[in-house]
Amino acid sequence: MAFARSDRRRKPSADEPVALKLLVAGGFGVGKTTLVGAVSEIRPLRTEESLSEAGRPVDDIAGVEGKRTTTVAMDFGRITLRDNLVLYLFGTPGQDRFWFLWDELAQGALGAVVLADTRRLEDCFAAVDYFERRGIPFTVAVNCFDGAERHAPDIVRDALDLDASVPVVLCDARERDSAKDVLISVVEHAAQRAAGRREPATT
């Protein structure tokens, strides 16, 4: 294909399997595992990383001679949309020391969900920053825990200083339909973003 070099986009042939991934991020205990479990059969996934990558302080490994890796568990879900079209969900560990893991997960991700709890919105700042900086389309899903004040999405948008194009939705991560709507919102946002990239001049 002589013209292939200038055209990096390609269409997978009909029988070529297509695998896409979405990330589910957010602070500690915000409902990541619950959301992945609401829409897919959830399974644990272990990844072992070297401690230097994990940024663990040296004294932590004193006495554990020879152990140079640490195990990180992630939530992992699979949604089969049709033959040869699968969507994978990865719930990312909340702790900051696992940022290195995000880099691998974010690579080639279609988009992300940032789960936010209005009682501690600041917990999701890091995730919002992360996806903004990498240009990964994301939806902020405000998980309405019982008794939590139902901030209007616009208030959350302001507090997080989000771009107008970023969807902000309310959700209950325990409800399958609600969790589905969150994922749909991410994919729609990603599709709009892709369409925008394709026709930058036609405004």
Partner: protein, 115 residues
């Protein structure tokens, strides 16, 4: 540390690092055949597990890790070996930015709605 015994202490080479978490592994074979993996005595039982699981359908690296209860890094090494021995094929995911049109994303959205 069984996983390390299994991969003979190797962690990950540059090639293995490029194996995406959602890359799909498919056993390289005619139906009923297993690409000669059974006859390759350098392979461990875990290698053969992978060959078998990927015989009838493509399985992602993440699922292999989850199903075999092995860390992702170990599965990468094993898949790397199998690639080297030409026992499996690897389908790296198409980066979303390279999908030619939105029809796939439309399908994903409709598929999610129908769940």
């Amino acid at each position: 540390m069984r996983p390390y015994a299994m991969t003979r202490g190797r962690t990950s080479s540059a090639a293995e690092m490029k194996i995406d978490l959602i890359a799909l592994v498919i056993t390289e074979a005619e139906p009923g055949d297993d690409g000669g993996a059974q006859d390759d005595h350098s392979l461990s039982p875990e290698h053969l597990d992978i060959v078998e699981r990927c015989q009838h359908q493509a399985v992602s690296v993440a699922e292999l890790a989850s199903d075999l209860d092995l860390p992702v890094g170990v599965v990468r090494v094993l898949v790397g070996d199998l690639l080297e021995g030409a026992h499996v094929q690897l389908h790296q995911p198409v980066p979303p930015a390279e999908l030619v049109d939105e029809s796939i994303l439309r399908e994903v959205i409709n598929g999610l709605r129908a769940l």
